[in-house]
Symmetry: D2
Subunit: 146 residues, 4 copies
């Protein structure tokens, strides 16, 4: 397991605030690992709604998660709040890969770093649907500058 990159807040262009809920904690007293993925899923989907990739009347496709992963660097405890930073890692023809940093409010280093990959499909046929050039441009604007 290589060491995670030194992820800082500057590396994420899009932010969503996610307060923890009492139920997020598990019997060890900290937010359960699976809930981190719910934070990632929520941050990504909020961004996609905001950018009208999903949820808009003209949206023709839905995003299916095909792969995800997370490195857990520090525990999170209720009632702490999470700032979830989202950037795009890869913009494909009908897929997007996001990189998400979960930071505790006020902290400079992340509590977790995750990735999440969507394939966009037709809700009926579940076949991949290409993203429009407009959406691809909006998503590329959320990539790290080279």
């Amino acid at each position: 397991m290589e060491s995670p990159p030194a992820e800082t807040r500057e590396r994420y262009p899009y932010w969503v605030s996610i307060p923890t809920r009492w139920m997020d904690g598990d019997p060890y007293g900290h937010v359960n690992n699976a809930q981190y993925y719910s934070f990632v899923d929520t941050a990504v989907t909020r961004m996609l709604y905001d950018k009208r990739v999903l949820g808009a009347p003209e949206s023709e496709s839905i995003g299916l998660c095909v792969e995800s992963g997370c490195r857990f660097l520090a525990p999170v405890t209720f009632p702490e709040s999470i700032d979830a930073g989202v950037r795009l890692g890869r913009v494909g023809n009908s897929s997007l890969r996001y990189e998400v940093g979960l930071f505790k409010e006020g902290e400079a280093t992340p509590a977790a770093v995750a990735f999440f990959a969507h394939v966009f499909v037709d809700p009926q046929t579940r076949r991949p649907v290409p993203l429009s050039e407009e959406i691809k441009a909006a998503m590329r604007a959320l990539m790290l500058a080279a």
Copy 2:
């Protein structure tokens, strides 16, 4: 708060087994109160699928929860498994009220007793849809004998 009725397993005609999940526990070490409602919701919906009230091709309506409540009588701890007993409390024209007992595996007295009320509506208009006589008969068969 009046004392809960002496609920025993014999008073529930339909059963669903629900193993607890690690994440169900909250920082106090026991299954979180909101998760009990997920057990109730799951038991009721499994019964409705089984009796073809929901999920069947001919189903024309969906069930919206309009009211629920629960008395918590004993803690539940992972990896315990729950036996959820379901009976019908009331069969209305377009509504059903369920009474659900949550028993730990092997125990004679419930860890919780709950109720849950559905109104059946058209998924598009959200207007109430009457239940068929066939469904009402199937549901009445799950009521306690008078």
Copy 3:
């Protein structure tokens, strides 16, 4: 089922903002009924931390939920945010009953009205522990004026 009281925002003195998460939605497209209880649980626990009833070094007890209930008045859909209003309904010797209104951001009438009752117990013996006079006074200050 009597009609719920006309609950308005003025009737709740303590507020917690709870953004919905993508995962809160169920296959009917709206926030699942059990998640409403997670909102209630979170709002109450946030208030108790804030008022130092729980989570403070001097806290000697934990709150066990003994009863809850909810009337569901309107669907909630991601990415809507919930304003949860909390008031005290009853202040007992070792118990508290809360009344919680869940309002969609910007709306004057609630999407749901709930109650939730805690008994405070010793974490080891699970025997009831009396609340201090200081805590009881702080909680009475959150009751509706007579």
Copy 4:
């Protein structure tokens, strides 16, 4: 993204059955991606309780998730039930890496393949605690034969 290995049921020596819950589904109608991690977490923790790595009176440590990941191969829909197969991928001095296949009941190919890594720590100091030789032997017995 390389193609996932051809995972079959034979490659997993330990099994846990996890019925889906109604609430697991998200607005797209299928079990939400984050819930798969709850299935993984539950299967691993059930195995660890069963093998007395966790939860036994002599247990001196708790397992913290440090990394996980999942490839999603097929949707899962309520009320389907999941058979979660667990094997050990790596047995370290104070860490374990599990490989988990999630199969729908009756299916030969997985709906998802995941990994999950625990570091075992002292619950107070959060410092790593070595696993006993007895536990390491029990875990190695769950690795794939070379």
